[in-house]
């Protein structure tokens, strides 16, 4: 066990406070009269979490952090200010994808930072990598469809279902290689870095394949679902890093995102499966 210092205690108490504020914030966001206050509360929670994390004893160099945060903030402000009001859903999708990519990089950095891993850590790291990658490429496709950079129609090709099933199998196999880390398999040497890069590529491809067959009109639902995924990716990263606030905030977004996705589907008189697999089966519409 790691020795608990006073700093650790303060950090974790502040995380509890941040978690409570996130919960209140989300609650208030669901009502028209209090939504703006809710957003502010959740922003304060985020600020508390970030500032308090800086006091972590493991953080010794601040130079790169300062540069990264400054650059990220400038880009974030510019993106939020300059975007047209009508292009908001695309913007959310793009930001969501960037968040997913961040989780992928956290997972990657975790792998590089340590040499010894438990099976549990490897499983959650792989999940963060996979979900983060899917969120990133899926959100990019959703963004491109919404902003009409690619066709908004459902993209299907012969054998797509078979291809996707194979892709899932390959991903499961990659997960096995990632977690078990065999050095030899069927007489072939296995390089862990190759497995890592292949896994990332597969995750990105999977995200593209998931969103391509869905029509542009259904994109808001897809973005909501991918938003839920990015929460889950953060949650998985939290498990890999043993960080409470990542797990709490990530799973809050994951769970509330699923509910919101469901509500949005209902508003369109569709089921979630109907939206997700609309490219593969005739859309059943109820009579208006």
């Amino acid at each position: 066990m790691i020795e608990t210092t006073t700093t650790d205690l303060i950090i974790n108490f502040s995380y509890v406070l941040a978690a409570a504020l996130f919960i209140f914030g989300l609650k208030l966001l669901g009502h028209p009269s209090s939504a703006r206050k809710g957003n502010l509360l959740s922003a304060i929670a985020m600020l508390i979490a970030i500032v308090v994390t800086m006091f972590d004893n493991n953080i010794v160099s601040f130079q790169m952090i300062a540069i990264a945060m400054l650059a990220g903030s400038i880009l974030g402000v510019l993106a939020a200010r300059l975007i047209a009001m009508t292009a908001m859903p695309e913007m959310v999708s793009l930001l969501n994808g960037i968040g997913g990519l961040a989780s992928l990089f956290v997972a990657w950095a975790t792998v590089e930072a340590n040499s010894e891993f438990s099976v549990f850590t490897m499983i959650v790291t792989f999940l963060a990598l996979l979900i983060g990658g899917v969120t990133f490429s899926g959100s990019l496709i959703a963004w491109a469809k919404l902003s009409e950079r690619i066709t908004g129609r459902s993209v299907t090709f012969a054998g797509q279902a078979v291809f996707n099933s194979l892709l899932v199998l390959v991903i499961i196999f990659a997960a096995y290689l990632f977690v078990a880390q065999p050095t030899m398999l069927a007489g072939v040497n296995i390089d862990f870095n190759m497995v890592l890069y292949t896994a990332m590529g597969l995750a990105l491809l999977f995200g593209i394949m998931l969103v391509l067959p869905i029509g542009g009109a259904d994109m808001p639902v897809v973005i909501s679902l991918l938003n839920s995924y990015s929460g889950l990716a953060a949650c998985a990263a939290g498990f890999a890093l043993h960080n409470n606030i990542l797990i709490v905030a990530g799973s809050l977004v994951g769970a509330s995102g699923i509910i919101l996705t469901n509500i949005m589907c209902k508003a369109m008189n569709r089921s979630l499966t109907n939206v997700l697999f609309s490219g593969f089966m005739p859309v059943t519409k109820t009579d208006m």
């Binding site: 989300l26 609650k27 966001l29 939504a35 703006r36 957003n39 959740s42 922003a43 985020m46 970030i50 972590d56 601040f62 790169m64 952090i65 990264a68 945060m69 650059a71 990220g72 880009l75 974030g76 402000v77 993106a79 200010r81 859903p89 959310v92 930001l95 961040a102 990089f105 956290v106 990657w108 950095a109 590089e112 930072a113 808001p220 973005i223 909501s224 938003n227 839920s228 990015s230 929460g231 953060a234 949650c235 990263a237 939290g238 890093l241 043993h242 606030i245 990542l246 797990i247 709490v248 905030a249 799973s251 809050l252 994951g254 769970a255 509330s256 699923i258 509910i259 919101l260 509500i263």
Partner: protein, 93 residues
């Protein structure tokens, strides 16, 4: 901190998350999605720890720093975009 303890936290948070969102008016769908998206930028906290430690050479801290950069865009952009949407919403009323 062991895995079981973390799983407890996960389970309880998921239940809270499920209960939080009920009967949201259609106009709030996009802002709520955007607000939740900003929260998922919490990855920045994990990225900070990786970017700031130079335990195993520079490689992982560079990756961590890039993750900080990305997550910060998500956080800052996410909250501001949500606020812009909600401000507009208020004016209409």
């Amino acid at each position: 901190m062991d895995a079981v303890y973390l799983l407890f936290i996960l389970l309880l948070s998921i239940f809270v998350g499920f209960e939080l969102i009920q009967k949201v008016p259609a106009t709030l769908h996009t802002p709520l999605m955007s607000g939740a998206n900003a929260i998922s930028g919490i990855t920045v906290v994990g990225a900070l720890a990786l970017a700031g430690s130079d335990s195993m050479g520079g490689y992982s801290s560079y990756l961590g720093a890039f993750a900080v950069f990305l997550a910060t865009i998500n956080v800052v952009g996410g909250y501001l975009v949500t606020d812009r949407m909600l401000a507009m919403f208020k004016k209409k009323q």
